[in-house]
């Protein structure tokens, strides 16, 4: 079977929206389960400031951010999947985007990863979607890149 369990990554960008549309199409035709994930990337993950940066945020701030991201995600899923949204699972995870997505894919036994072609931030755009590029290189499961 081509794809039974599909993990879709969204960063709330336009390409992500199109990625979700493709996931919806695959779900309809392949009867696949869908998990939509947003990775709340730590901008200091690869710097020596990582531990300090973590201290700047209080637990309640982190909680509020999490709630906000979850509601954004919920809104996007509702918007795109309509009445089928109930059957779509959602998750917000922390970490470095590529690592977090691969980990999540393996953990949830996903057999296809669907992503938008370029990220939201300017650096990603300059590098023509470095996150996507890295995913294509490193993912152990097939990756559907939507432009």
């Amino acid at each position: 079977m081509v794809a039974r369990s599909i993990l879709v990554a969204t960063d709330f960008s336009q390409p992500s929206r199109r990625a979700l549309e493709w996931a919806r199409l695959l779900r309809a035709r392949l009867d696949a389960a869908i998990l939509v994930a947003h990775v709340d990337a730590d901008p200091f993950a690869h710097t020596t400031l990582r531990d300090d940066a973590a201290k700047w945020q209080t637990d309640s701030e982190r909680g509020r951010r999490m709630e906000w991201l979850k509601s954004e995600l919920n809104e996007q899923v509702d918007d795109l999947f309509g009445p089928d949204a109930q059957a779509v699972r959602q998750v917000v995870v922390h970490g470095e985007t590529v690592e977090a997505l691969i980990e999540l894919a393996l953990e949830r036994d996903a057999d296809l990863l669907v992503v938008g072609a370029s990220g939201k931030n300017a650096v990603d755009r300059l590098l023509l979607g470095s996150t996507t590029q890295e995913l294509v290189q490193r993912s152990p499961i097939p990756v559907l890149t939507v432009h």
Binding site: R18, L25, R29, L30, V136, P140, T145
Partner: protein
């Protein structure tokens, strides 16, 4: 609303590329789509102090005959969907993107590790270039995926 009616699948006669073709065929069957297998080749050009030497017509014909034969054999092994093959000369990733537009395909399916495994480390694979340049979505199927 996206739809899948035609899938482009670049092939280089390696095992990973045949796996990607099987993936494309399985997906196409689910969507009632057809599959267009494409092999892009480049003929060698030798640089000499006073110019360049290119393959002669005899050699060129021999190469294209062999490739056509290989494509025919490949498609004979597959069934289940409408499968057409194309042999094109040029830079592989550019030809794949060009054919995607020319044939009005909705999706590209390709393996991530073709014949030039080591080159990948330095230049990135053909698949990565296609992902960068393609206007339609691309499914990259990694080696080892069954």
């Amino acid at each position: 609303m996206p739809e899948i009616r035609r899938i482009i699948c670049p092939v280089d006669f390696s095992e990973p590329s045949e796996k990607a073709l099987d993936y494309a065929i399985e997906l196409a069957a689910k969507f009632g789509a057809d599959v267009q297998a494409i092999h892009a080749y480049q003929l060698p050009v030798y640089a000499l102090p006073d110019g360049a030497m290119m393959a002669g017509p005899e050699f060129t014909t021999k190469v294209t005959d062999e490739l056509q034969k290989a494509l025919k054999e490949l498609s004979a092994r597959k069934s289940g969907v409408k499968l057409e093959t194309h042999l094109v000369e040029g830079i592989p990733y550019k030809e794949v993107v060009r054919m995607t537009e020319e044939l009005d395909a909705d999706l590209v399916v390709m393996g991530t590790h073709g014949r030039t495994g080591l080159k990948h480390l330095l230049l990135g694979s053909v698949a990565e270039r296609v992902v960068r340049s393609s206007k339609v979505p691309v499914i990259t199927v990694p080696t080892g995926e069954g």
